[in-house]
């Protein structure tokens, strides 16, 4: 029996039972489309994270104290450099005034979480950041309406604040927040500026935060001890490494660190943050891949089921064909072709659906198809369909014709 005869016969078999064929096709289609699309979503979000981190600029360094105990112990002032040297405002001012060639600006930052209220609304768990005006040039937080506070506001510990857009709307619905007063844990601040809307990349929503002069936040909430973070902007993204070593040497001098291996702070660059984020995005992709693999498996089980039913149903037909002189291989060939045609057509349709689906944003993420997922999904589904189409057919074909004929 020639190949063309087998394929003609198989095609006839596929077309003569449309419902069964459509169900098989659908099972494969959904499995394949799910794998490709879910991996594409994972990949898309990974790329989105990468690009949003890139947009922050890779020229910033953050310095964080490692010893948290020290901050509370000396919050009333009087640093004892001998035990736990602390990065206080004074240290950052010294760092800032030190003439470091690759450092563009130094921004001390202190964080707290407070309940904020206006005359009409109250919002709890609001992140309050104390910083200097350079904060707005170093980070993605930009003032949209109004103005940032100034250096003299920092010097004077002015009771002013710049707030996120969402917080502005929550506290002053339908009105401009500029010039209004907000109460932060009993301290009244005047809103001077509202931030532009930012995409949320971290744990906190940047659209609900409050940024105030660091001196004001220290005097009202956190005290004059160590700052939480020092942001250092290098002159360019190429100068980050140079800036890091300059800052480290200078800080070790200022803090009188004798053992450089045991610095009381850690320096993180955006590039290391990028690596971490990339890692988490990758594991997200893996997670989606697992979900996709499960859906492929479920699709495969559906196909298997249809194939098993098909073969059982057609055992009598196999018996007739054997009685007429069909060899085992002719029967196997026919079922192989039938299963192959169904799963391949279903798989290709699945790829088409996935490619079309990837054109649309899914939950704000533009899916990016991973090339390897196409042959992978196709290969696995075709293999499942063909194996479970052929294996029971092979058993039926190995029966004596009379056994096959007697089955209903």
């Amino acid at each position: 029996m020639k190949f063309s005869e087998v394929s003609a016969s198989a095609l006839h078999g596929v077309l003569s039972n449309k419902l069964r064929s459509i169900l098989t096709l659908l099972g494969v289609l959904i499995g394949v489309a799910a794998v490709i699309l879910l991996l594409a979503v994972g990949n898309g979000s990974a790329q989105q994270v990468a690009s949003s981190i890139n947009s922050l600029g890779t020229n910033t360094l953050s310095i964080r104290p490692t010893s948290t105990g020290g901050t509370t112990a000396s919050s009333t002032g009087g640093t004892s450099a001998s035990s736990t040297p602390q990065i206080t405002m004074a240290v950052t001012n010294d760092l800032s005034s030190a003439d470091l060639g690759h450092v563009a600006s130094v921004v001390p930052e202190t964080d707290t979480t407070q309940t904020v209220s206006s005359s009409t609304a109250t919002e709890s768990n609001i992140s309050v950041i104390g910083a200097t005006p350079e904060y707005f040039s170093v980070t993605t937080a930009k003032v949209g309406t109004g103005a940032a506070f100034t250096s003299s506001d920092v010097t004077d510990s002015s009771k002013v604040a710049v707030i996120g857009t969402e917080l502005a709307q929550d506290l002053f619905p339908g009105a401009s927040a500029i010039g209004q007063s907000i109460s932060v844990d009993g301290t009244t601040l005047t809103v001077v500026g509202i931030l532009t809307e930012q995409s949320s990349t971290g744990m906190q929503d940047p659209n609900t935060e409050i940024i105030a002069p660091i001196t004001r936040v220290q005097s009202s909430f956190t005290g004059f001890g160590a700052v939480s973070t020092v942001l250092v902007a290098a002159t360019s993204s190429g100068a980050v490494t140079a800036a890091e070593s300059e800052v480290t040497i200078e800080l070790n001098q200022l803090l009188r660190v004798t053992n450089p291996a045991d610095e009381p702070y850690t320096v993180t660059s955006q590039s290391s943050l990028l690596a971490t984020q990339q890692q988490s995005a990758d594991s997200f992709t893996v997670l989606l891949g697992v979900v996709a693999a499960i859906s492929l498996l479920v699709g495969g089980i559906g196909v298997t089921n249809v194939m098993l039913v098909t073969v059982t149903e057609r055992t009598r037909e196999i018996g007739i064909r054997k009685a007429l002189g069909a060899s085992r291989w002719a029967i196997l060939g026919q079922f192989l072709m039938e299963a192959g045609i169904l799963t391949l057509v279903g798989g290709i349709l699945g790829v088409v659906v996935a490619v079309i689906g990837a054109q649309f944003k899914i939950n704000g993420t533009q899916p990016e198809i991973m090339f390897f997922s196409i042959p992978l999904a196709l290969g696995v589904s075709v293999a499942i369909g063909v194996f479970f189409g052929v294996y029971p057919a092979g058993r039926a074909a190995a029966m004596r014709p009379i056994q096959a004929l007697r089955s209903i």
Binding site: R321, A323, G325, S327, R328, A330, I402
Partner: protein
């Protein structure tokens, strides 16, 4: 290869020597055939009669190579069927045997022509020739005009005629019919029997299983089976003289 060689001159079409068929084992064993020895010559038209459970269908399945006997020898045109492997058996079924079933066993999703062509497809006959031979076989049974109909669009008698055309199309050594008229009315039965008469006249070897006397009467020779043994083997002429079996 042996399976496809033309029949060897001097050999009977079918020769069975002490054929046994046992299903199951031990106490549960069922002895369907208990030692059948018979020869059927080329050109003979033989009817096998017997009550249900007598083993006549088992014998038919062994003759048709649909089943393999447990013991004994089955020579088909001088070739021992036991020596054939799976693929050779398929070729034997394809070229040497034409099977007609009580329940027609047509493939429902194929046209009459498609069904008749099927054995030729497995024989590797090319499409134009296949088509021609299938049409000829259908015309032989008077159904040339129904070639494009599907089995469910045909009457029982027509379906059986399609099945006969399918059995004839490969010009087999032996035509085997298992209760071919069992599901048919008397008019269709007569049509089918006329076709068999015609085939017998042209020298085809036919073995037909039946429990109907009017069917058996058309044959040249009647074998009666009971409990897995041939209990009577009579030529039709002798039966008429003896007047045996007429009242069954």
């Amino acid at each position: 290869m042996a399976a496809t060689e033309p029949e060897i001159p001097g050999f009977a079409a079918v020769e069975l020597i002490d054929l046994h068929q046992v299903y199951g084992e031990g106490d549960a064993a069922v002895h369907a055939l208990r030692g059948i020895t018979v020869a059927i010559e080329k050109g003979e038209y033989v009817a096998i009669m017997g009550p249900s459970g007598s083993g006549k269908s088992t014998l038919m399945n062994v003759l048709g190579c649909l089943d393999i006997a447990s013991h004994g020898t089955y020579l088909l045109a001088g070739n021992d069927v036991k020596e054939f492997d799976e693929d050779q058996l398929a070729k034997v079924r394809n070229r040497e045997l034409g099977f007609i079933f009580q329940s027609f066993n047509l493939i429902p999703r194929m046209t009459a022509l498609g069904n008749v062509e099927l054995p030729l497809v497995y024989a590797g006959v090319k499409k134009p020739e296949r088509h021609e031979r299938a049409i000829a076989a259908l015309e032989q049974v008077g159904l040339g005009y129904r070639a494009e109909h599907r089995p469910q669009q045909l009457s029982g008698g027509q379906q059986q005629r399609v099945a006969i055309a399918r059995a004839l199309v490969t010009t087999p050594t032996l035509i085997l019919a298992d209760e071919p008229t069992g599901n048919l009315d008397s008019e269709s039965t007569e049509e089918i029997l006329q076709i068999f008469d015609g085939l017998a006249k042209t020298g085809r070897t036919i073995v037909i299983i039946t429990h109907e006397e009017e069917v058996a009467q058309r044959s040249h020779r009647v074998l009666t089976i009971a409990d897995g043994l041939i209990v009577r083997d009579q030529a039709q002429a002798d039966r008429r003289l003896a007047g045996a079996g007429v009242h069954s």
